[in-house]
Symmetry: C2
Subunit: 555 residues, 2 copies
């Protein structure tokens, strides 16, 4: 029998920022018992995934081995770590472990998808541990930008792994546990085989700043404003939301939370005892009657999301509240790459209303939740692992993080999604490449990213769509002329005539010339009509559209 | 008769960065003689304009008054200032004036669209002037990021206007004229009524840096590399391209230009005497035989454009050249908002090849071509106009620029696209709002942005497309069952059956129940079938698709 081995396999998150899903295994090769760390989502965009609702890691590999999974561990409640748990759980069916605040969110997500929330179990903090097959797992508190974030201390017969999850080193994070160096030193003490480590900010050169540094800046800013102040941040950054609310109160303003996610997060924080001292808020109804200079709104939509409160306000009234000349809008957030245009759209709409916009151009009103390059080096040093495996990053982040590890003489492993690494031997070894990919939640259906569904949508968006219909009579002769319907195409082209008319005429001519061999063969007919339609479009409007041909035979 | 007046009317560029098109008029109200400054393009994106090739300002207002246009003046050869000249000229038919290098590009654009390039006339530099109806216009050299950029000195009976075009204040721009303070002082001396001024960088707090500062940094960087060096920048930034080439030569490398725009720009520069000392280059064929550490490629595609040389290299071989582990890729450019994802895609592809990527995160290898906030203040001071009218910016830029002008006691006018401002009286007065908008070049056809064509494409991309066809016999009874074709939709939904089958069954049932009133009425039938198809899709796959219904009647 082959010797037991310890493996690491990222299925998502090691090739993108988002969609986190990591697997650890221990046991005989190809019969390892498994645990899963995080089941997150990524978000679609118009360019690559129009119409898609959410993106998950393709967990086919895991699902085929569901009987070997001893537990699913969620490090924290950000969507890219917990967002897929409700959607994917039924294919894995293992207990889900998380700390109280995270579990609160995981349970809601299970319920929303019709799964029993009791499958989510609340875990204490390290040195308390959870036994999951051959793994003993402890939740080691770490600072990030959401309460109760945790790293995982994963103990196996082949050694200890520390999986950081998302983190920064912040000794004054506002809400939640400060980074506890003593506890971390303790966790690292027995020797750590591998540090599997967040890479998001590896390109940020300067030491990260504490959440506590933004408070005074925000207080000062809010106090200076003479109109209404509206501020947005990530709803899950509970510490920041509180800081904003406190700044409102300190300047004599009533505070109103706008946007479902914002209220939900604060409620969850209070319910799970993460937060006990949030300022009193007023409802939108009450807010309407408060003078603008005594009012502060804290709203969702820092990324320009079209349905969030900030976008609604930028389009006019929202719940009876609206912005006006002399008001101030603060982005206490950074714009995630890809969201720039949506954010800029909102800024310009506010500008047209005469609202002053303050963003984070200088880092005064926002700090990142991830460890910057020097902080990553500090973490390497603190944990002093044999191996550093960068995760949570695009390929360029992982690669740079490996370089950083190597620079201080550590073994770094570049393991993008699908790379199965054995950690048992004296040095890490890539033992297999597993097929990975993306699953799209498309309305109510999960489809593969490469199924062709989304590709067809993109093609229609880029090229327009022509529908050609025709009828063949009982003798397989054309009955009347072909019909053309255009969707997403100009009505008139170079000739000045209707594109429909020109195309129908060209298709009619083609049918007149078509012999029986063509008329009797559906594929040939389809192909011929399609070719003519595309050529006519090219001549008339300079592009080849997508074409759907429907031939009805009365025979 | 009403008194003559001087008007300013932006049709594009005062509401976006790009698509510049400004109008000045002088004469009796509503009978002013007109000149046009710049005819530029904006670029489409998948989110708002999928499939579109180029975006122009809607020039309907101008085209209706074409007989009153005395000249079209192009400030410089960037696409957002000259790109539409070939496409729109036939609707305006006035002489086009530009300096030699700009005229070279404008003429090519005229030729490409089948217009006589001789309509583009070459102008000298101020104090030489062009007479255009009641306007006397001089091209005042100014530094920017393309050769021969010019501001315009526009002399009228109602006073002098200086229209900056795009500019920075750079006394050592590398290629082209340094900013000549004495000349500018001279131009401003008689007193300036209005400064119409670039606003792009109004949010950049620090004084701008000279093009000459990047040379030494790039030299140092290139000299340090041991593999092949590939650098990208905007092809039109001829000074930068030369700086990159010189850095290659200085480190003993042969230089090869890749990408049509890159070669075209350098050729145009040499042809028009803008550039006389560009290093000798090698062809891609020659480059293949040169050892990597002796080779430098300068390539197009700094914005991640999918067809440009950098994207091609990121996907593998391009013209027989490819990148490899140990090579370096330098972005000597900034990423324009909206292009982040494309650029990041390329970076990660290079990362997978083991290529080191250096971008402009610290401003070491790139400087902007636009005047920053303090430089704008310097310009205001130098020209000392009665009025400052910010242009070339989104609304937020224009508004901020007005604030900047006001802060030093000047009259600033916020005039977004369509705002017609009279400059004749003692103070500026908004006299009219003109309808403005965007025209899409879609293949070979110009369509209005609001024509619905692109809206239909976006809907198909977001929702998928169902085609329903059915035949009614001579008695208007359904002949056989309706047919369904799905494009961009999942094949299977909640029931586990084929969505096509379920939908065809539901549509068939609807027809069985339909009475003559429905069957005889095309609109009713269409509406009914559409409603059923959408409801079935909602039940099965959780979304309502676009539906095209084609009913054929044999009667």
């Amino acid at each position: 029998m082959a010797e037991d081995r310890l493996i690491y396999l990222p299925l998502g998150g090691a090739g993108e920022i988002g969609m986190n899903c990591y697997v650890y295994g221990y046991g005989a090769p190809d019969a390892e018992r498994l645990i899963v760390v995080d089941l997150g989502v990524a978000f679609p965009d118009m360019e690559t995934s129009p119409g898609v609702d959410l993106i998950f890691a393709d967990i086919a590999w895991l699902a085929e081995r569901a009987d070997r999974i001893d537990g699913i561990f969620i490090t924290h409640a950000h969507e890219d770590h917990v967002g897929a748990v409700g959607h994917l759980w039924s294919r894995l069916r293992a207990p889900v472990y998380a700390r109280r605040f995270t579990a609160h969110h995981a349970r809601r997500k299970m319920e929303e998808q019709g799964q029993d929330p009791e499958n989510v179990r609340i875990a204490g903090i390290w040195p308390e541990t959870v036994e999951a097959g051959p793994f003993t797992v402890g939740f080691l508190p770490v600072s990030h930008s959401i309460p109760e974030s945790s790293s995982l201390v994963i103990e196996t017969k082949a050694g200890r792994i520390i999986h950081t999850g998302d983190f920064k080193i912040d000794v004054a994070p506002g809400v939640g546990e400060p980074f506890d160096r003593a506890l971390w030193t303790e966790a690292a003490k027995p020797g750590v085989k591998a540090l599997v480590c967040d890479s998001t900010n590896v390109f940020s050169r300067h030491e990260g700043r504490s959440e506590s540094t933004v408070g005074p800046e925000i207080q000062r800013l809010v106090a200076e404003q003479t109109g209404m102040v509206v501020a947005t941040t990530f709803a899950s950054n509970v510490a920041r939301v509180r800081t904003l609310a406190e700044a409102g109160v300190a300047s004599g303003r009533s505070v109103c939370l706008l946007g479902r996610a914002m209220r939900r997060m604060i409620e969850a924080s209070v319910e799970t005892n993460v937060l006990s001292d949030f300022p009193t808020t007023v409802s939108p109804e009450e807010a309407r009657d408060i003078p603008r200079d005594h009012l502060m709104l804290i709203v969702t939509g820092s990324q320009g999301e079209r349905r969030a409160a900030s976008a609604q306000l930028s389009r006019g009234k929202y719940l009876g509240l609206s912005m006006d000349e002399g008001d101030t809008f603060l982005f206490s957030s950074k714009t995630i790459p890809g969201n720039e245009k949506g954010v800029i759209r909102i800024m310009n709409a506010f500008s047209e209303m005469g609202v002053d916009i303050i963003d984070d151009d200088n880092g005064r009103y926002h700090v990142s939740g991830h460890a910057n390059r020097p902080d990553l080096a500090t973490m390497h040093e603190l944990v002093a692992p044999q191996i550093v495996i960068p995760m949570h990053g695009e390929h360029r982040h992982l690669r740079e993080h490996v370089k950083l590890a190597s620079a201080s003489g550590r073994t770094g492993v570049l393991a993008p999604n699908g790379t199965c690494v054995s950690l048992s031997g004296n040095k890490p070894e890539i033992v297999e490449f597993v097929e990975t990919g993306r699953t799209y939640l498309d309305g109510a259906v999960q489809i593969g990213a490469l199924d062709g569904v989304v590709r067809d949508r993109i093609r229609m968006a880029l090229n327009g769509h022509v529908v050609v219909t025709m009828i063949l009579d009982e003798e397989d002769a054309p009955l009347g002329d072909p019909w053309v319907e255009l969707v997403g195409l100009p009505e008139t082209g170079r000739s000045g005539s209707s594109l429909t008319d020109v195309m129908e005429a060209d298709l009619g001519q083609f049918l007149q010339r078509a012999n029986d061999k063509t008329l009797l063969d559906d594929a040939k007919l389809d192909e011929g009509l399609r070719r003519v339609a595309r050529q006519t479009a090219l001549d008339e409007i300079g592009r080849k559209p997508e074409v759907t041909v429907v031939v009805s035979r009365l025979s």
